[in-house]
Amino acid sequence: MAEDNILSVRGLHVDFETNDGVVHAVKGIDIDVKPGETVAIVGESGSGKSQTMMAMMGLLASNGRARGSARYRDKELIGLPERQLNHVRGEKITMIFQEPMTSLDPLYRIGRQIAEPLIHHRGMSRSQARARVIELLKLVGIPDPERRIDAYPHEMSGGQRQRVMIAMALANDPDMLIADEPTTALDVTIQAQILKLLAELQRKLGMAIVFITHDLGIVRRFADRVYVMRSGEVVESGETESLFASPRHSYTKMLLSAEPTGRKEPPVPDAPILLEGHNVEVVFRAGGGFFGGAELELRAVDRISLALRKGQTIGIVGESGSGKSTLGRALLRLLPSEGAIRFEARDISNADKGEMRPLRKELQLVFQDPFGSLSPRLTVGQVVTEGLLVHEPSLGARERDRRAIEALKEVGLDPVMRNRYPHEFSGGQRQRIAIARAMILKPKVVVLDEPTSALDRSVQKQIVELLRDLQKAHGLSYLFISHDLAVVRAMADYLVVMKQGKIVEEGPTEEIFDNPSHSYTQTLMAAAVDQTRFRQLDLHTG
């Protein structure tokens, strides 16, 4: 049986030497891959799933060490000299990465980059390679390949760049393709296209695929077998069907039930309108003037009207670049905009900084990136109470501390930790800190800009529940900006779908989910359904 494997990993360890001592990222795992098979390695961030593959491919960071065995057919990869390893990677085993925007060299045309492995492994001439590259670009569905072959990466979208990476991966007809979170950085509709492409190519070309992912939807749809990893160990493995049907390990069970559940009840019908925008318009201008050349105009938000009631959550969905974050910022008057904005029936469209300052307490914002939005040089207690210094300067230090304890307790953090610094916390904990920072001011409206997008599914679920509890307890109104329909469905009672700065569809959340009328909404839903509602639909293609 073992001889059939093209890859067999035995007792693989990966250690990183850090300033805080040695970190064991992978703790002696076994993995097998048979020819033509699709294997998924699932786990949350930090579980060691990527490092396993990096170790095998000799791509660990300079402080990383691999021990154990990883055999590709008869060749031991761990400890193989680079020159010999180079006959395997790029030729027999290829990889595509999570970051399509940065994985290609920005300084060279894509044609040249796809050609490089062909020239180095197959000894092709430049013109032979070029013909093959055009063929490959056609294969991965890049339109007009004869022209696009000379494009630079920055001239392509994220989805197209990932197609280029796939073309590069297929160039030498590999035995095995490692796909490290290949769709995580892409919009849902693009994700669906890339996954479909990979499945088709595998059927056509017959290589084995190792999917590294945190997304169980992908696993269910594509993988023959699954390895579930948690803190450097494989906790469970098996055939996809049986593993999904009867997970044995508690961690697998937790992952499977990690999708946000529950629905938000709409507010009482006559709840007062808190924040209202009428024909809000945000235009970004670039260039113009003497040095800038022709003036460019980007209408990021195009005459949008919106009314947020007390206790209501409006979900704003759309893909990247649709203007949803810009709209949120414009409504809080953090960006200059046209049109009328009213808060508690008072016109704030033209309020200056001084007039806005007392209102800032009522209008809070929580950002997507829990790593970048907390100052690394302040303790958590200081981060959380900073707003009090501005809005309630009369409070003494003792009273501020009491409020910090209260706020941290409310978001489910141990207040003992308030003297630590943000980097000592996990992503989910940091997002709780960011929420505590907003809640301590007792706001009326909170704009939540993708607050769960950078988090693992199981953590997302907890944050969604926390936000809903806080809303119920304090009668808050949320503007919830997200591209993740599963999360929006659990959070919002009213939905606004945006595309290119315009609202293409709006209405009560369940109505839109049950009966999307605009074609764009339908595409979004279809793409999301594939991945997030896999339990109801059997899309497994075998």
Binding site: L107, H154, F290
Partner: protein, 305 residues
Amino acid sequence: MFAYVLRRFVGAVPTLFIIITIAFFMIRLAPGGPFDLERPLDPLIMQNLERAYNFDKPLWQQYLIYLGNLAQGDLGPSFTRRDFSVVDLFRTGLPVSIRIGSLALSLALVIGVVLGAWAALRQNTWVDYMVVGTATFGITIPTFVIAPLLSLGFGVMMGWLPAGGWGTWKHMVLPVTTLALPQIAIIARLTRGATIEALRSNHVRTARAYGLPSHVVVGVHALRAAILPVVSYLGPAAAALLTGSVVVETIFGIPGIGRYFVQGALGRDYTLVMGTVVVIAVFVIVFNLVVDILYAWLDPRVRYD
């Protein structure tokens, strides 16, 4: 592209105008004048001289006259070297300064980039520590300390090279070295940092994952990215070399324009100082434009139109 270059040139006119205006009035604020000698001149002669050079007119008129002449390419007569016009002096001095400056810049680029890349590829080894240590040391020592030390050591004590003066290639070694040393240090540090960053970047990881030989990974993918910050530094480097040449030419007694700047300023040779300011300003502006065009050629993400 042509439109961009044209726009940059037109844009340089106000910059140049402001520089000239500030320099013109600043040098006039300094006490004394070009004809003040230890033994005062006969008042009648002084009057004649002042009339001949328009010094009897109000300052704003002198300013307009200077601008008018400048527009015709006339930088005026030199006051301290009475037989020469400023243009004459530059005709002989500028080639000397340009030769020293371009040699120093080329030397700094080649050695700096090689040292920096070498240190980056051997990060945290003795090579790295040595390059970084020497570079840090090199940056901290000013030109006016290195120049006399080199002149004393290699010129006077060892007698290997001329301690000063101008003529053969041997005369160039010490001044070019003096000018290049701090630039080598800065460029080496820049290259090291940029190379280390490039080696960690995702696209270099891709190149390695595809089994490309390491000379391709480093030479084609990492170094081209690493060279970009060095290219942007060339503009400031050229300016630094010009100011450095003022000191170096004075200490080694080289007949370049840097020396005129010092002599002109001390002797209140208004037109010579102004001439040097104009030439250096034009040079820095043009050089920066060339650097920007070079950058766009190296980095396809940057396009001017």
